[in-house]
């Protein structure tokens, strides 16, 4: 049986291109296309496609939102995001809202075919670049309880704990006393401390001095 495909994209030219490409394959059949939330939702309810190729940034609608609505209406259609966006934020949100796969518009023909088949079988498909960006996006945020200080902040902290004045710290580190003050305020804020005594205590317990 052919895989029935619906194309949600606001570029007629892109839709035509994809249609021509997929209809050339015997196992696929493009059964509809649309570019507004309303049209996409009602078409899907009516035509019951197996897979939707879902753009994210469309003129009058947002693919993330449309996917969420499809899932809210218990639709079991497989959603394969096909987007220009390769940033992890978009990928995360799209998967969160219930997409089964994510490929880029620059994806090659073979990969697109594999992606459609894979999501149709119920598995997840992310193209290489997508999964790499997603992983990087997941890795970068630091754990909440770990406080990251920059080397210069540590220098400033040490010198505060050793009772140097703002001006002395400034001279030693080749920065202005105003910047020393900003470092001091940032340190207090980042460490959740109230005053210099707190900084001194922190420097000692963390063995900076």
């Amino acid at each position: 049986m052919n895989i029935k495909i619906y194309i949600a994209d606001d570029h007629a030219m892109f839709r035509d291109g994809i249609k021509a490409m997929l209809n050339a394959e015997s196992q696929f059949e493009v059964i509809g296309e649309g570019d507004t939330e309303e049209a996409i939702l009602s078409d899907c309810a009516r035509l019951q496609p197996d897979v939707i190729l879902m753009d994210i940034s469309m003129k009058d609608s947002d693919g993330i939102e449309v996917t969420r609505k499809l899932r809210a209406s218990n639709s079991e259609v497989k959603v394969l995001a096909v987007s220009m966006h390769n940033e992890s934020e978009y990928i995360k949100r799209m998967l969160d809202s219930g997409a089964n796969g994510y490929i880029l518009k620059s994806t090659g023909r073979n990969e697109m075919i594999t992606a459609i088949k894979t999501v149709n079988e119920g598995a997840t498909f992310l193209s290489n670049e997508v999964s790499q960006n997603l992983l990087k996006g997941l890795n970068t945020p630091q754990p909440k309880n770990e406080i990251r200080l920059t080397p210069r902040e540590i220098e400033v902290l040490k010198m505060i704990a050793e009772e140097y004045s703002n001006q002395e710290i400034a001279d030693a580190l080749f920065i202005s006393s105003r910047t020393v003050d900003t470092h001091r305020r940032n340190l207090l804020e980042k460490l959740g401390l109230k005053n210099t005594a707190g900084l001194v205590k922190y420097a000692i317990t963390q063995k900076y001095i």
Partner: protein
């Protein structure tokens, strides 16, 4: 001197009618003479300035210093443009004569305001235009080139057996086109980061940092202690642009190997701090492109009513801080 003037009402009138504030003080800084405008601009209590000391009237660091130099005689004159004083912006000029010095004060608050509005609208127009071009590339040309690539691939696939040679050539065209497409995407991104518009400042800075890390040119870390509550979009865009410029400087000019980008929120302020370990620079001796970059940063900071502080010395890296008040926005 006051006596002299009381006898010469013509001279008194001239001074009173001058379109700027006039103050005359003696060798020790005691004010001998003022006009109405000077009192308006300088006096905190709107009381007469006569017999008070000029240094007490200007308790602003740079003015105190300059006035001391005039009184001590190490300076003959000074001009201070754009002195922020008592919520006003003043231009202050001082000239020393033998026994006394004359100081004139002009209130340019209104002009500064007009200038800022103009700068703001220039920035906004520029950003709008960038956004238009970026959208055109990202949503228009981008998908079109993707479509073209897909069609080429379909043809290549179809003739693979009948004409393998042409198919191979088509495949290499596909590869070149893919490069064009990815180049377009990165141009569109630097023109207008969609992540910023869609997900806000912290997500956009994280993306920017990831991009630099991916390029393997330098290690860059984003330390964020800002919850990411939505700020005014123009503020977010300005902070993002400043950060973009600073990272760019650190990579291109300073050849930094490590950059830290921090957003720290205190009760009232948001601080953006960018530190790098690069060559550093001498603020008084900038290359033209660096100078333009920094003056853009300066302009954007001013438009946000923020404070900019740049610390750098040759060989010592640099620390740039932009602080904005959260309550105004």
């Amino acid at each position: 001197m006051e006596q002299l003037l009381s006898q010469n009402s013509f001279l008194r009138d001239v001074i009173d009618e001058a379109p700027y504030g006039v103050v005359v003080f003696d060798a020790s800084g005691v004010i001998l003479l003022e006009n109405e405008l000077a009192r308006q601009f300088i006096s905190h209590d709107n009381q007469s300035l006569v017999k008070r000391n000029i240094k007490e009237m200007f308790q602003v660091f740079e003015m105190e210093e300059l006035l001391t130099q005039i009184i001590e005689g190490s300076k003959e004159s000074f001009d201070v443009m754009e002195l922020v004083f008592d919520e006003k912006v003043l231009t202050v000029r001082c000239r020393k004569r033998q026994d006394w010095s004359i100081l004139t004060v002009q209130d340019i608050t209104k002009w500064k305001h007009i200038e800022m509005t103009a700068v703001q609208s220039i920035i906004e127009t520029q950003e709008k235009e960038r956004q238009r071009i970026a959208t055109e590339i990202h949503d228009g040309i981008g998908p079109q080139i993707s479509t073209t690539i897909h069609q080429l691939e379909t043809i290549a696939e179809n003739i693979k057996e009948s004409d393998p040679e042409t198919a191979t050539r088509l495949e290499s065209i596909v590869e070149q086109s893919n490069e064009v497409s990815s180049e377009l995407r990165s141009i569109s991104h630097s023109l207008m980061p969609r992540v910023l518009l869609d997900f806000g400042l912290t997500a956009a800075l994280q993306t920017l940092v990831n991009r630099v890390n991916n390029s393997n040119r330098c290690k860059i870390e984003f330390i964020n202690s800002f919850s990411g509550e939505a700020l005014d979009q123009s503020i977010e865009l300005n902070l993002y642009r400043i950060c973009q410029e600073l990272i760019n400087n650190a990579l291109k000019h300073a050849k930094a190997t490590y950059i830290f980008v921090q957003l720290v929120k205190t009760e009232e302020h948001l601080t953006l701090m960018v530190e790098d370990d690069g060559k550093g620079f001498d603020l008084n001796n900038l290359k033209l492109s660096e100078g333009i970059g920094l003056s853009n940063i300066e302009m954007r900071t001013k438009v946000m009513n923020g404070e900019l502080n740049i610390d750098s010395a040759p060989g010592r890296g640099s620390v740039v801080t932009v602080e904005i008040s959260l309550h105004e926005h």
